[in-house]
Symmetry: C2
Subunit: 314 residues, 2 copies
DNA sequence: ACGACTTATACTCCAAACGAGCATTTCATA
DNA sequence: TATGAAATGCTCGTTTGGAGTATAAGTCGT
């Protein structure tokens, strides 16, 4: 299959690294781990690693000093124009999605490279629709409309309008929170996201913070995957503490999905699937009537792992 | 990020290649392209390639002499125990799923390496449930039961029984055609699929033909992805000729899913989504009442690409 | 102690989606 | 002309999912 000369040819020019979208939810806000504020943590894939996944686990745990509950491969990138080192070197990046919790207080020896948890909506302001921001919504719509208007020909314009409508839920097309990547790519194509240019503060507030290289695209991939996944797999629980209330669970889901859900229906869904069990205690700090504390039934992972679980969509 | 010494270290030991699960449907039978009868086509990732996907497209089209309609990345494998070259060399394989049609008669210069289309159920006999084979079903159930019985302890046994029931639709758990990979891994774990050992003809008939290295696992990954995908994306049409009848469409879906669907409901679903348009002609060779010939409405790809389409499940 | 406020929790309603079946139509062929 | 095979049209009952109403049980300020 692969002959020696081929390998030799690859040798000088191909590098393989692992890159992680590490997610936590803190104070009803999804957060991702960054290095230097604007890069996703990454590291080379080494021979010492048993597998890609264990390789990623190894050095992420080494950097964050606590274990990741859930890891899943996202996508492998190797486009020629991926920034990075300009000359002949080609970087193959295998990205992973990891779910965890922010480390408690014990900020042990600060890991190398200035790791920092950041609100993921800082990079994707338009993805948070939990409270309607009429101002930003219209501003975005106007910018998109301009792009549609500047189409070279009518046909292109029509396609563009259609894409905008679907991706951003305009003209009666409902908002679909799963289309994170499509929206990012559309904005990128519309040059509304000039990752390479400098932006004033106001633009950053509207179009989100930039990231190193194509890391923002990778983050978008991770967000999209996670938003889709929580609807049919019980992975949210990896982001919650051992015990929690149903409202806490709901708020976490809403934070990830970037939209609000109907409380009663949400509870109905959770209950009829036996996803959680009561712990017997009550949470009294809820502000209103105390809520039962519950715990995720890890034992159902065996059954549900394959079969799937449903969380409400909008 | 990646320093020079790291790259040098990788240089002698890492090889990146692309591997394809190429699917076609011929005579209501899903088929995959093999090289030498038991290997998936693969080739090295080269610097000349713009991207992974275009790299794959390039050499697959070069090998098969006709274009692939649809390509999607599957998974990247790099486990240490992936067979391949035993010594220090680590092979990173990026797998892709490609949909196409078997080339018509014009078998131009036979490509290198003896490419051959093979029925995919030859490798996964238990995945075809279109006609119930009571004999094989019970034989498999018995073998699984034995594995459950040989569990080291009761707890393991219970977990095993549960996994079998869900994966293979026993004890009232309905058959879920998407669990191709889980079933394969379960059978592998139960040592019912000794990829490395020799098998007699009878065993091969029951447990399917072996493939090179971990190619059968990769094929399982592709099958699972495709079975899941046809339910919410209009990708089946990549496997059909330009015009076809609704029954042909249904038979293709059934072939891929490995199970039969309710004809009237299937048509209702297709129609209410405007997936196809009538061509005006009739197919008279259907044996019964002639069927309207239809054509896939490619123009809806723009809309549906993001939003999704539904094909009936069982 | 009381009323206002907040959250938890229990039910009800309705419409769309879905699975299954019956009935009728329209061909080719024996 | 009868028969078989498939196409096509329609009905029915169940499930699922979205949305709303009502009530319970705490906290907190006065």
């Amino acid at each position: 299959m692969s002959s020696a000369p081929t390998i030799a040819a690859q040798a000088e020019t191909l590098a393989v690294n692992l890159i992680a979208v590490l997610v936590a939810v803190t104070d009803d806000q999804p957060r991702i781990l960054t290095i230097g504020g604007s890069a996703l943590p990454s590291g080379p894939f080494e021979l010492a690693h048993r597998s890609l996944q264990s390789g990623l686990r190894d050095w992420v745990e080494q950097q964050t000093h606590h274990p990741i509950g859930y890891v899943e491969q996202l996508y492998t990138f190797a486009d020629r124009d991926r920034g990075g080192d300009g000359d002949g070197l080609r970087m193959v990046s295998i990205s992973y999605l990891g779910l965890t919790r922010e480390r408690p207080a014990s900020r042990t020896p600060a890991p190398t490279g200035d790791p920092e948890w950041r609100d993921w909506y800082a990079f994707f302001p338009w993805e948070d629709r939990r409270q309607v921001d009429e101002v930003r919504a219209t501003a975005l719509a106007v910018a998109l409309q301009a792009w549609v208007g500047h189409a070279p020909d009518a046909r292109t314009g029509k396609v563009r309008a259609q894409r905008c409508a679907i991706a951003f839920g305009l003209d009666g097309h409902g908002w679909n929170e799963d289309l994170v990547l499509q929206r990012y790519e559309l904005l990128f194509e519309a040059a509304l996201i000039p990752e390479a240019h400098t932006l004033d503060t106001e633009s950053e507030a509207r179009m989100g913070l930039r990231m190193t290289g194509d890391h923002r695209r990778i983050l978008a991939t991770g967000m999209a995957r996670l938003r889709a996944k929580i609807k049919y797999r019980p992975v949210v629980f990896e982001l919650l503490p051992e015990t929690f209330t149903l409202l806490q669970l709901q708020r976490s889901v809403e934070a990830l999905a970037g939209r609000l859900v109907h409380k009663q229906n949400f509870r109905r869904l959770i209950e009829q699937q036996d996803l959680v069990e009561e712990i017997g205690a009550l949470a009294t700090d809820t502000g209103g009537r105390p809520a039962k504390l519950v715990r995720f039934r890890r034992d159902i992972l065996d059954e549900r792992a394959m079969v799937g679980t449903k969380l409400p969509r909008p």
